[in-house]
């Protein structure tokens, strides 16, 4: 620590957690500040940062801008101050930075620097500090290691990292020169002038060429149209204006349209162009007016033609009715209606009666049929005799039945007994005979019983039974015959009674007696009534048809009269007359003739328009020729000035191009120089970086670390790449490393950078460097710090007992001062 500047002692007062003055004498040794969390270790490191850099860079959050976090709130003067004494054994510097409590942490502070007895204040002191010691970039990348800050350096923006590395490697001047040489600006300026030259050439030389070609084309076209070259002048157009204006005035007079003044043009293209526009507009207006009049006359003629046809037709229809009176026709209709009504009543009466008789005829037929059927049945029952005879026969059947029943009983008693025995055996099946008490063989015994039944006797009984059945049937038959005869007799009587009643009703209705046979008589009457009703109906229909025809005639007559009157009214209003019939027709014809005369006149006017339009087309072409001729003259006049200006611009362009080429060359040279220096410097840094990385035990697989420059649009940026032992695989540290590995990388890079810097400040300030490291890593770090302690002063803050012990073991006691903070209070600060 003999040649580089280091801190000999520091006094802190009213800063952050330190209220009363805290003086720490480092005794020209390395320093380890130890203590538990929150006792003020980091405050000492922040005081060093603030005093040297005038800021605490980690206090960037928005909240630090809302209050003053630097000045201790309990300090009696509300003032923060830090005094540092630096020495390299020969030179001695004293820095004192202080400031009053403000509204923000980022408030300005006052710095006083003593170089021996020489005093520097504020801006001068700040400038002196930078010259003597270290720039902020160097301080934060190679002197003061905050864990957060170094991690930000690795994972932060590539451009910012490149700026810091460039400065550390002594490439800042080249970087600034590269950024200062405005190659793009000069190139843009040169291109702008070249474009201006191009635009000017296009705007004048090419424009003149184009205008001259156009002029020749206009002239050729006009001469082909029959115009002599001597006529291509303003005089011709002035005369043409007068001629066209005179003709347009004549047409305007014919159309009764007011005419503007058009013959006041002068012999210059602006006045002639104005004259042309006015003539063109007026011609167009007259053409539209003419077309309007023509269309109106055409419409009037068509309308009158239509009226005439309609009116003539209406009058022809009227003639067809031969002056018939609608009222008289109506009276005839009503008379016919009066005659039709009684006929319809009579017809309906006859139809109703015919319907009634037809219904009754069916009723009579039914009744007669029923009576006849009953009579036939009665005739068939006469074989049984009269009712009395039938009753006698029934009594005889009863006697015979009694007799036959007795005979059957006698004949069948024995047989019945056997049969009963056989049946008994079949049903009861007794095991022993009830008489002899011997075992019974049922089937055998039954067969025996049945065999004993006399066969002849059996036949006789069957015959008797048949006789009984026959007698019973006969008796039943006779009884039924008697019932039927009684029923039929009643039926015949009822039918006869109904028939008589129906006849009486019919005769009452027709008011005459019916003759026999009734059916034919009623049918005849029905036919007669229907014939008669039909005749009446035909007569009524004929009269109805006649009445309908008369009504249609009345309707048509009314429509014809209304149509004629309506047409008359319309025509009279259109023509403004009051005449009717023939006189109205004459008035219409006269008006049509007048419209046709108007159409003829407008057609003649129309014939003049193509010629006038042609005249104006020629007018316009001559005008364009004259205008182009003027443009050519103007361009020809401007040409020498333009050519002069182009020459001047070309000279400027050449000079700018030369400047651009020169600056491009210089830029390229600066870039090549930077690359060359970078290459050699990086070689040195690589060794140092690799050495630290291996000593601090980085990644187990990616064992080599390299800082790789890359050319980007904005310049060179640096990538931190790790490689495996064989260098076959690589990775960006930011993508694959754990927190501890990233910290190890950061420490390696930081220590390598610190070694590369050319600062006079021989200090390393490390805040809790053992964070997230295991014992091996901590041990490696302690050994590295011990090695650094030979050349530099390190100031380490840690709460880690293991880290503390390892550093104490690694660094000789003569080179290390250990300061322990045991407690902290708001009034006193660390103790």
């Amino acid at each position: 620590m003999a040649e580089l500047l280091h801190i000999s002692d520091i006094t802190i007062e009213g800063f952050r957690g330190v209220n009363k003055p805290l003086n720490l004498d480092f005794e020209n040794r390395c320093v380890m500040i130890h203590g538990r969390n929150g006792v003020g270790k980091s405050t000492v490191l922040q005081a060093i940062e603030w005093c040297l850099m005038g800021q605490c860079r980690h206090m960037e959050l928005d909240e630090f801008g809302r209050e003053d976090a630097l000045v201790n709130l309990f300090h009696p003067d509300k003032k923060a101050s830090v005094t540092i004494r630096l020495t390299d054994g020969t030179r001695k510097y004293q820095l004192r930075r202080e400031r009053k409590l403000g509204k923000s942490t980022r408030g300005k502070s006052q710095l006083v620097l003593y170089e021996g007895k020489q005093e520097y204040k504020n801006t001068e002191a700040e400038q002196k500090l930078r010259e003597l010691l270290v720039s902020p970039e160097q301080f934060y990348a190679a002197t003061y290691l905050r864990q957060d800050a170094i991690r930000e350096f690795i994972v932060g923006d590539a451009q910012d990292r490149a700026r810091v590395i460039d400065e550390l490697l002594g490439l800042e001047t080249l970087r600034q020169l590269l950024e200062a040489v405005p190659v793009k600006d000069v190139e843009t300026a040169a291109k702008k002038v070249e474009k201006e030259i191009g635009d000017m050439k296009e705007g004048t030389i090419q424009a003149l060429d184009l205008a001259t070609k156009k002029l020749v084309n206009y002239k050729d076209e006009l001469m082909k149209g029959g115009l002599a070259e001597k006529k291509l002048n303003a005089d011709t157009l002035v005369q043409k204006t007068k001629d066209v204006a005179t003709e347009l005035a004549e047409i305007a007079g014919d159309l009764k349209v007011s005419s503007p003044k058009l013959d006041d043009v002068e012999e210059n293209t602006a006045s002639l162009a104005d004259g042309y526009n006015r003539l063109d507009v007026f011609l167009d207006r007259l053409d539209r007016e003419r077309f309007g009049f023509f269309k109106a006359a055409e419409n009037r003629r068509s309308e009158l033609q239509h009226f005439l046809e309609e009116y003539t037709d209406a009058r022809s229809q009227m003639a067809e009715f031969k002056e018939q009176d609608p009222e008289e026709l109506q009276s005839r209709v009503e008379k016919l209606r009066d005659e039709i009504k009684p006929l319809e009543t009579e017809r309906d009466g006859k139809n109703d009666l015919a319907e009634f008789l037809n219904d009754k005829r069916n009723v009579l037929k039914g009744l007669q049929s029923d009576a006849n059927k009953a009579q036939h049945k009665l005739e068939a029952l006469k074989k049984y005799g009269s009712i009395e005879e039938i009753e006698e026969s029934v009594r005889g059947f009863d006697m015979r039945l009694l007799e036959t029943a007795r005979l059957k009983r006698e004949t069948g008693a024995y047989t019945q007994l056997l049969k009963s025995a056989a049946d008994f055996l079949a049903e009861a099946k007794p095991e022993k005979c009830p008489v002899c008490n011997r075992p019974v063989q049922h089937a055998k015994l039954r067969r025996e019983l049945l065999l004993r039944m006399d066969k002849a006797q059996q036949t006789k009984i069957e015959k008797i039974e048949a006789t009984i059945d026959e007698l019973k049937d006969k008796k039943r038959e006779y009884k039924d015959a008697a019932v039927q005869i009684n029923d039929l007799t009643r039926e015949i009587r009822s039918a006869q009674t109904d028939l008589a009643r129906e006849i009486q009703e019919i005769e009452k209705k027709i008011k005459s007696k019916l003759k026999e046979p009734l059916d034919i008589e009623v049918a005849r009457r029905v036919t007669n009534l229907r014939d008669s009703a039909k005749q009446i109906d035909e007569k009524a229909r004929g009269m109805e048809q006649k009445s309908q025809e008369l009504e249609n005639q009345i309707k048509r007559l009314g429509e014809t009269i209304r149509r004629k009157e309506k047409l008359e009214d319309k025509i009279q209003r259109v023509l403004g007359v009051v005449q009717t019939d023939e006189k109205l027709i004459q008035a219409m014809k006269s008006e049509m003739k007048s419209a046709e005369t108007e159409i003829g006149k407008l057609n003649k006017i129309n014939e003049r328009f193509p010629k006038l339009k042609m005249e104006l087309t020629t007018y316009k072409k001559i005008l364009e020729y004259l205008e182009e001729s003027e443009r050519v003259k103007k361009l020809e006049k401007e040409m020498p000035d333009v050519q002069e200006r182009i020459k001047k611009l070309e000279r400027n362009s050449e000079k700018l191009r030369e400047l651009f080429m020169g600056l491009s060359d210089i830029h390229e040279v600066l870039r090549a120089e930077k690359e060359s220096i970078l290459e050699s410097t990086l070689d040195r840094l690589q060794d140092s970086l690799g050495s630290y990385y291996s000593r601090i035990l980085g990644h187990p697989y990616f064992v080599n670390l390299q800082l790789t420059p890359e050319e980007e649009k904005k310049g060179i940026v640096y990538r931190i790449v790790a490689y495996d032992e064989s260098k076959n695989y690589s990775t960006y540290v930011q993508t694959r490393f754990s927190n501890a590995q990233t910290n190890a990388t950061a420490l390696s890079l930081f220590l390598a950078m610190a070694g590369a810097t050319t600062s006079q400040l021989g200090m390393l300030v490390l805040d809790d460097p053992g964070q997230s490291l295991d014992t091996d890593h901590k041990n490696a770090l302690a050994n590295i710090l011990a090695a650094e302690a030979k050349e530099k002063q390190f100031i380490v803050a840690t709460q880690d007992e293991e880290m503390k012990s390892l550093i104490e073991e690694a660094v000789p006691k003569t080179r290390l001062k250990c300061i322990t903070f045991k407690d902290w209070s708001p009034q006193a600060g660390p103790s």
């Binding site: 200062a180 600006d185 400047l659 020169g662 060359d665 210089i666 040279v669 090549a672």
Partner: protein
Amino acid sequence: MTRKSETMYDRLRQRLTLKEHASLLKDVLDWFDDGGAKKVKDEIGKRMESIREE
């Protein structure tokens, strides 16, 4: 020109493609010595302006 700049000029001059650009390079380094990057930009800006005004 400072000694540091002179050394840089000598090194850079060797790398130039066209030797006639050496004068401009010298100007650029002088301007940088005199007023840093801003002065370089300003002087080249002035030179461009004077070319335009010709």
